[in-house]
Structure formats: C-alpha cells, structure tokens
C-alpha cells in the first residue's frame, strides 16, 4: 500500500516528533478536546459498515445465486436474490457517499471545537505561552496540526471501526455456514487488519526516525547551495557541496529502504491472508460437501465471499500511519495548551450569553512603578536587572541602548505580559500580577514590534485598540504618525482591505499603522517599542521626538536605539551591560556619560555618511 510514501511526502523534518516521545493517553486527551460525540462516530461506523457490507453481501449473494441457478430451480426462487444483488450494487456506492459526508462533517466539527479551545485557552492563559511560540509554529499548531488530529476520525477511527464490525460480522456469518471457514476468515482478517498495520506502522517509524536527521541536513545543504550559489562557485566549493547533498540523499534513501521492508511485507500479507482464507474454505469445504455437512450452494458462498471481505482491512495500514501522525500532532497541540497553565477542562463550549468581565476602575492618577525590577523570559536568565522607573500621566520616558540589550523584554514586563524575574511592577500602588487583566489593559497598553495587522480594513485594524473609533479619529491618528497621505491614496481610504498580516503594506507603513492603533487606545499610559523602525533616520527621529514631546496628557515610554530625538524626553534611561547605566535628561547624559556621548557622535557621523 501507500503508507511510507505518504508519510515521507511533504513532511517537514522538524515536525518529525519521535513517536516514542509522545506520552501515553495523548490521543485520548486530544479526542476529548475534539468533542466528537460517540453517537455520531457510531453513526458513521454504522453507515460505513453497511456500505462495505453491501459489497460483501453482493459477493455472497451473487455466489449463492449462481450456484443455486446451476441447479436449474424455478426462476421464481431466484428473484429475491436477483433483486438483492442489484440493490447491494446500488447501496454500496450511495451508502459510502453518505458515510463520507457524515464522517467528514464530524471531523470538521471536531476541528472547529479544537481550534476554538486552543484559541480560548491561549487567550485565557499565561501571556508568555503565546509570546514564546514563533508565529509560523503557532499557525502550524492551529492549522495543520489541528487538521491532522481531525483526520484521525475520518482516516483512523471510522475505518478501524468499520473493519472491526465487518470482520466480526462476516466471520460469524461464514461460521454459521461452515465453522472452519468462519474461523479461518477471522484469523486471516486479524493478519490483514492487525498484523499488517502494525508492520506498516513499524516501517514508517523506522524510516521516520532514521530519515529525519538526514532530511533536515539535506534541506540545510540544498538551501545553503542555492542561497550561496555565487560564493560557492567562486570559492570552487559547488561540486563538494553537491556531493554533500548526494550523500544526504543517499542517507534518506537508506532510511526509507529500511522502513520499506516491513511495509512491503505488510502489503504482501494482505494479499496472502485473502488467498489463505479462500484456500482453507475450499480445502475444508469440499470434504464437508461430500459428507453432507455443507450444502453445495453454501460451498460457493463460503469460498467466494472472502474475495470481497478484505476491502475494509486493506485501508488499515494507512489508518495506522494516520494514527501515528495524529498522535504526534496531538502531542504538539497539548504541549502548547499545557504551556498556557489553564486547566484541562476538555472542549471549550462558547457560552452564548457570556457576561463581559467585571471592570473595577483603578483610580487616577495611575503611576506605573518598577522597583528593583529584573526581567527576562521565564526559562532564561534575567537580561536586565535593577530597573527603577516611574511613568505617570504627563511624563515621557525613553529607554535607550544598543539593540539586543533587553529593552523589548523590559517593555513586555512593564505591560504585564511577562512576569518579573525579581522586584515588582506596581500599578497605582498594587502589584500588577494582583490586578485583573482588563484593569491593567485599561491603564497600560504596549505595542510591540511584531504586533499583528489583521486581514481586514484599515479602520477595523485601528478599532482593535478601541471598538468605537470614529473615521475622524482614525484620520487624525494616521495623520499624527505620518500616514495621512498614505491613507488618502488608498483605493477605498479607511475601508481598504489589508492583506493577511499586512503583506500589502511596507514595513514602515505597517509600523506606523500599529503606532496609530496604540495611540487610539483608551489607556492613559503607552509603552511603545521602536516606533521609528523601518523609517529613514530623519523621519524616525521626527516621529519619536513628536511622540515624546506631545503626548496629549498621557504617560509615554518609548523604547528606541536612536539617541537623536531624545532631547524631547523628560527622562532618558541609558541601558548598558544589563542594567540602567545612567539616567537623566538628554543634555545631562551627553555631558556626563562618555558612552552616551560616543554613541550620539557615532550616530551623527553615520547619518552624514548615509546622506
């Protein structure tokens, strides 16, 4: 059959989670999250059984009809069988169609439930769980992995259930005619439906585990050759690299070959089992007919029925592969869900009348205070320590330092999206972790570098920050960040649809759109991450200076790596070597801190050169 090939096809090496690492009970947990009802699964299996059962019944009744007809009975005695044969001929196709629709509907419902559950738990759980996952990975978990778990129903559960029901039914039916034939059929079905899938499963596992490393290296080598084609050619290394590619390919081939042995044996066993079932029925049946234990007509039935009885088991090797794949996908999804720290309560049911979370109002003024704050990711070291700062309404702060010193991490911690490693963040005197999240967000809003632009209109994208933004307010905010001309030349203005994740806008436009969104939020305190990124230095500096100077009665904290616009800030925090190395106004720092002055000088010279 086709097991190995489909698993090998299109599978990315990094997704090759070793089956051995998947914890027990993974599938059961994942199935529970799909929320598929037993009744619906049973319905699909029943219809599927009737469909394939029609094919077996067609074979059995045809055999009976022909054997009986050869005894030249009155035609009337055959009419019921003749009608039955035609009926089975039609019902097989129709019922199979119905079964496919039922099982696919079931699987799609399960996928929706699982996706909703994943979303709900990511939304409720620890913010870090979402921030940690790379965007591509998140989409893979929610996209392809959820599909793979859903496929378990269509390609794993239902075929297995149908094969089991039919196997038992056919074996019993044949056993009623002639017990040895029924027994032989049952044993052969076990070989085709249990042993063969197990072998296939082993083959696929072997191939996967041996090939995954070679596949990753092959991909890296091929990418390297194509990315660096020029340098490799000039350095005379192209042939050596191509030979390296061929070596990795040979390793993949060896791994697939190793897995092909059990898989091929499994395919052969399927054919062998069918042949043996027919042979046993024939060899035991002929003497039984002679001794009168079996009617001659029945001999034709018990010998010919097995020819049709193996259709259900023939798809089981593929089903075994699907189960493995679904398990690996389920393990990845469950790991993501577990990282949110939310309780595993099974499938989430969306409450139609979900009350909005109660909002208590934190009184004004609401200073955001960091005390001896250390910040970093939970499983990493603290990247910044001993940070003290106070952001109040009407003040502007700038956090500045070379890239990679942890400025963004600080911003996420101040926004309450990462827990502090040490020290605390207080909002209106209360530790942020003790406040309900809605209260925090009503006071402090952070915009991050990688914030998402939704695949909807410009206006709706701005309304993500606040649901009641009017077109006028939207225009004002866009003009403030220098996007006035941009929105004016869009075909539908504010109602222009943006592509998913804003692939249709440039980096600078995207950045400023996100900034406009943050400015429209209700919150009195704004934390802005590199608002001038992707802009040319002059425009970036103008924008940052404007944000720091004119903040409309709000408190603004800007994280940036450029120093030029910081004269507009009330206070500048200069980050160096994992701590706040100096603080004060721009002019004070220029006079007092040699490192700061040097950086400012370097920035100026580079700027002149760039012009």
């Amino acid at each position: 059959m086709s097991a190995l090939s489909t698993i090998a096809a299109g599978r990315q090496a990094e997704e090759g989670v070793q089956v051995a690492q998947v914890p027990h009970g993974t599938l059961r947990r994942a199935l529970r999250l799909l929320g598929v009802s037993r009744r619906q699964v049973a319905a699909s299996i029943t219809v599927g059984t009737l469909a394939l059962g029609s094919a077996i019944a067609l074979a059995a009744v045809s055999a009976w009809l022909i054997a009986r007809a050869s005894q030249m009975p009155p035609v009337m005695t055959l009419s019921v069988a003749a009608v039955a044969v035609r009926t089975f001929g039609i019902s097989r196709g129709v019922l199979r169609y119905v079964e496919r629709l039922i099982s696919h509907d079931l699987a799609l419902r399960g996928m929706t439930t699982l996706r909703t559950t994943v979303y709900a738990r990511l939304a409720d759980g620890k913010a870090e769980a979402v921030l940690r996952v790379r965007r591509g990975d998140l989409l893979a978990r929610v996209g392809a992995d959820v599909d793979a778990v859903g496929d378990l129903v269509v390609r794993g559960l239902v075929p297995a259930g149908v094969a089991l029901a039919l196997g038992i039914g056919t074996s019993i039916a044949m056993g009623l005619f002639w017990p040895p034939a029924g027994l032989a059929l049952a044993l052969c079905l076990v070989v085709a439906g249990v042993v063969a899938p197990a072998l296939t499963s082993r083959g696929v596992r072997t191939a996967e585990s041996r090939a995954s490393d070679a596949r990753a290296r092959m991909t890296a080598t091929a990418l390297g050759i194509l990315d660096d084609a020029g340098p490799l050619a000039v350095a005379g290394r192209t042939d050596a690299e191509l030979a390296g590619l061929a070596r990795q390919d040979a390793r993949i081939a060896a791994a697939v070959d190793a897995g092909a042995r059990p898989t091929a044996l499994a395919a052969g066993l399927g054919v062998l089992a069918q042949g043996v079932a027919v042979l046993v029925a024939l060899v035991t049946g002929i003497p039984a007919v002679r001794s009168g234990l079996l009617a001659p007509v029945e001999l034709a039935v018990v010998v010919l029925t097995p020819l049709a009885a193996f259709e259900a088991t023939s798809v089981l090797p593929m089903a075994a592969v699907q189960v493995q794949r679904s398990r690996a996908a389920a393990a990845r999804i469950l790991a993501l869900l577990d990282s949110t720290g939310t309780p595993d309560t099974g499938a989430v049911v969306v409450d139609e009348q979900a009350p909005s979370a109660p909002v208590s109002h934190v009184p004004l003024p609401r200073p955001l205070v960091a005390q001896s704050l250390a910040c970093g990711w939970s499983d990493g070291p603290a990247v910044l320590t001993e940070v003290d700062l106070e952001l109040t309404v009407g003040r502007s702060l700038a956090v500045v330092g070379p890239s990679g010193v942890g400025k963004t991490t600080l911003l996420l911690t101040l926004a309450g999206l990462l827990p502090p490693k040490d020290g605390q963040v207080l909002l209106a005197g209360v530790p942020m972790s003790d406040l309900p999240r809605p209260d925090v967000v009503r006071t402090v809003v952070a915009t991050t570098e990688d914030a998402h632009v939704f695949g909807t209109t410009v206006l709706e994208n701005l309304r993500v920050a606040r649901g009641d933004v009017t077109p006028e307010q939207a225009h004002l905010a866009l003009a403030r960040v220098g996007l006035g001309d941009w929105v004016a030349q869009l075909p539908d203005g504010l109602d222009t649809l943006l592509g998913p994740d804003a692939r249709t806008v440039s980096g600078g436009e995207r950045r400023r759109l996100l900034l406009a969104r943050a400015l429209l939020a209700d919150s009195p305190l704004l934390l802005l991450d590199e608002p001038g990124e992707h802009l040319d230095p002059a425009s970036a500096d103008r924008l940052v200076a404007d944000l720091l100077r004119d903040h409309e009665g709000r408190g603004v904290l800007v994280v940036t790596h450029r120093l030029a616009p910081l004269a507009a800030a009330d206070e500048v925090l200069w980050i160096e070597d994992g701590r706040v190395a100096a603080r004060g106004t721009h002019d004070e720092l220029l006079a007092r801190v040699p490192g700061y002055a040097a950086a400012a000088h370097q920035e100026r010279t580079d700027g002149e050169e760039a012009e």
Partner: protein, 572 residues
Amino acid sequence: MKPLDPKLLTYARAARGYLVLTVTTGLVTAGLVVTQALLLGRTLGGAVHDGLDLNGAATAITWLVVVVAARFLVTTVQERFAHRAATAAVNELREQVVEHGTRLGPRWLAGGEGPALVTLATRGLDALQPYFVNYLPQLVLAATLTPATLLVVLSFDWLSAVIITVTIPLVPIFMILVGKLTQGRSEKGLAAMERLGSQVLDLIAGLPTLRALGRQAGPVRRVQELGDAHRRATMGTLRIAFLSGMVLELLTTISVALVAVTIGFRLVYGDVDLVTALTVLVLAPEVFNPLRAVGTQYHASTDGVAAAEAAFTILETPVPPRGQTPCPDLRRARVRLDGVGVRSSGGWTPQGLDLELAPGTVTALVGRSGIGKSTAVDVVLGLLGPDAGAVTVVPEHGTPVDLREIDPRSYWDQVSWLPQRPFLEPGTVHELVGDVDPVARDRAAALTGLDQVVAGLPDGWQTALGTGGTGLSVGQRQRVALTRALLTPAPLVVLDEPTAHLDASGEQVVLDTVGALREAGSAVLLVAHRASLVRTADVVVQVRAGADDEAPADSPDVVARASTDDDAARLV
C-alpha cells in the same frame, strides 16, 4: 497533464528500471489473477455441481497454493522496490535541479523562479513519492490487468464481456460530466473555504496583539463562527467532490451485479455452465479494481506530476555557455569593464560602468543602495554576463580576452571574494583560514581581530564550525573570511561592504587588511558605504543607474582619487 511523462524516464534513471519492474509485476499479476479465477471456477464448479472430491481437486488446489504464494511474493517485491525507486527518482531530480540552479547562477536564483526552486528541491519533489508508489502501479495494472481479465471474460462469455465493456467508457464519461457540472460550484466553495480558513488563522496569529490590547476575549466566538462557516463551505464542496467517487463506485458495482444476475438467469436455462459462470463472477470485479484505484489515487498523483513538471521546466532552462580559454595570470593582468550595463526591472542598474582593476590598486564602488553595486560585483566575478558593454581580462603583454570566453574555474582560482554574508565551509577555524603556519596565522588574526573571536571559542583554533559557520555571528564570520583573504592573498580580492556588520574597531581591522592586501600586490575591489573605507581607495568609481531608453551618459565614472575627508564624505 500526461499521466506518465516520458521526460520523467529521461531525467530520473531510477524511474526507468522501476517502470520495467512495475510493468513486469503488472503482467505477472494479471496472469496470476486470471489463473486464480480459472482454478477457482473449475474446482468450485466441480465441487458444487459434479461432486468433485478432494483427491480430484488436489492438482488444482496445489496450483492455487502456488498462485497465492506467488501473488504474495509479487506484491511484496513490487512494494519493496517502489519505495526505493521513488526515493531514488526524487533524489535524482533534486540533485539535478539544485545543480542546474547553481549553473543558472545567483541572479537567476534570486529572481522570480528562485524561491520556487528552493521549495521544489526541499519539499515539492517529495510529492512524487505517492505518485510512484501508489499511482503508477495502478496505472500499469489498468493497462495490463484490465484488458487481460476482460479478454478472458470475453473468451468465456461474450454477453458478460459486453456488459463490462459498455461500463468501462462510462466511468470516465460520467466522471468528466460530474466534474464539468460541479466545477464552478466547487471552485467557489474552495475559494470560500480558503478565505474562511485564513481568517481563523489570522485571528489566532493576532492573538498576542489582542492580548496586549486586552481584547482577546471577544474573538473566541468569532473563531467558532468562522470554524462553523468553514465547515459548511467545506461540506458544500465535499458533497460535490464525493459525487465523482460515488459515480465510479455505482457504475462498477452495478456492472458487476448485472453480470452476476444475467449470468445467473442464463444458468437456469442452461445457456452457460457453472464453471464459466463462477470464473466470470470472480473476474468481473478484477476488471474494475485498477480503474477504481486509479480514480482514488488520482488526486494524490496530481501534486507529484505538477512537481515533476516544475522540475522539467527548470532543467530545460538554458544555461549560458562556459568559456574554455585559460585565464591569464591576474598578478600581471588587469580586469577591465567597458560601458557595462545590466538591465533590471527599473531600467539599467548599473549603467555605462567603466573601471579597471589593476594589481596593487584599491578601487571603491560607491553610490546609493539599489543602484547596482552588488550587480557590478557579480559582473566582475563573471557570475552575471553584462547586457551592455564588456568585461575583459587584459594581460600585460598580449591581446585582451573577454571574460565570457575564459574558463571560470581558472579565473575564480585567482579570486578571493568576501560577500556581504560570508559563507564558510565546515572545518576548524584553523583550516578555514587556510591551514598555514601558526606564526603567520596569529599575526594575521591579530590584525583582523580574529584572535579575540578565537579566544572566546571552546577549542580555540581547533573549534569545528558547521556549514555556513554556524555558531558565529556575521561579523565574526567576516573576520574569519578577512583573515583567510589576508593569509592566502589572491591576485584579485573583492570585498562587498566589508564593514556592514562591524563597529568602529572592526572597521579599523578592515582598513588594515585592505592596506596589507595592497602591499601584497592584490587588486582590491571594495563596495563601500562608509567614508573611512572610501578614503583608503586609490580610485573611487561612482555607480550610476539609467532609465530604459536613456543613452549612456558620457561623464567619467572615475570621479576622483579621494584625497581628503571632505571628498570622501561627498562621494559616498
């Protein structure tokens, strides 16, 4: 789209042997299936009708055992080699596509079809696996088993053969009809499906943003609604898509049922005998089985066929011919560009570029980004042929040779190139810088600042680095590459923005290296942004772009020898 493209056999040699094997097993399978039906029909007919006993049936049963064993063997062998051949064929195509890609050159790879080639080589071609393993054998069986069984049926009972023969063409006709009738609807359905699917993913991708703004709770219901809408759209499409499968199954099963009923009634009247009837009954489904399998595997195969066609398109893209003339010794020859222009989407970048690279001279290319400096470097290196003008190598004594006629290997052997993102082959740091005397090595490393990098590595000079210099930052890799350039001075050294990833101290390293290379008599070509670099150059060349129809400007490219800081700053 052809079900079996002959080109596949041309490009993938593994596919040839495999096709022979598959046709052989197909023919053998056809023979075995027919033999099994004949033996079963005879034995069973005898036992049911004529009271045949086990002794009388012994020969036939023995042969049946042989047939069953042989079918087991044939199936196992076919499957065993299908995977091997498929992997070999995919690998062959991959290696050819990648090799052809390198011969088409970096510019082609960076262009429109380049990224598609990467996807094809790393993942796309794997779709051929199911094509080879599942689809091709069934296709071959449809061409062997189906006609063979039909002929046997015909030889036994012409009426059954007629029923089957009438059905066979109905299968494709009905499937095409269903396909045509439903095409528009299912395309619309597919589009709706994709849109809804991407909307759900969009919401989930935006979850961190929604959280940061405190608006994550609302969309839970939206995710579910979109999921439900997606399900309805999908089911609408599937209802139609599964129709063709139903037609296929209906036609084939009804045909078998009709054969059984017709032959049954004729038995009653004694028109046919039982052996014939049983043989035909066993054979009738076998006629259709390969057709049904081809139908169900069809979709799996289309991706593979598409991938193969994409590969053929790439492999048939013509490669510029390689020169044969050995390159003159660059230690005593100059590389000259006369009026070089390269056509790009926006016009000419660069346009009308004249420059001369002479031993012991440092030449700097300047100009704003996107004007074609790196393109000019590709032209100098012979990786890209100019669309206008010429590149020649001018020996001290003798006639100039066009770079196109020069064997690239003999040219590149004399060139050392430091691209913006230096590539390092696997090896220890010591090997990477040229495996030279440690004293010279340490002196060079002190100059380039590599000594500090090495001091931070776990095994010092013996630290093994992976492909691409994994574990080193771009700046560190640049120092390795600079040290190598210094230790094994090539007659022509090309440095593309060597200070891009370096701070002030790193920049000094580059300046010192360039000075040392000039001392050693190399011709150095710099692509420069920073004034400090431009200052070190003996000759500064301004790169210019031009509109499509613009005549080449005739003002000199070689602007000046930048002697003062002001000049340098003005030029950049």
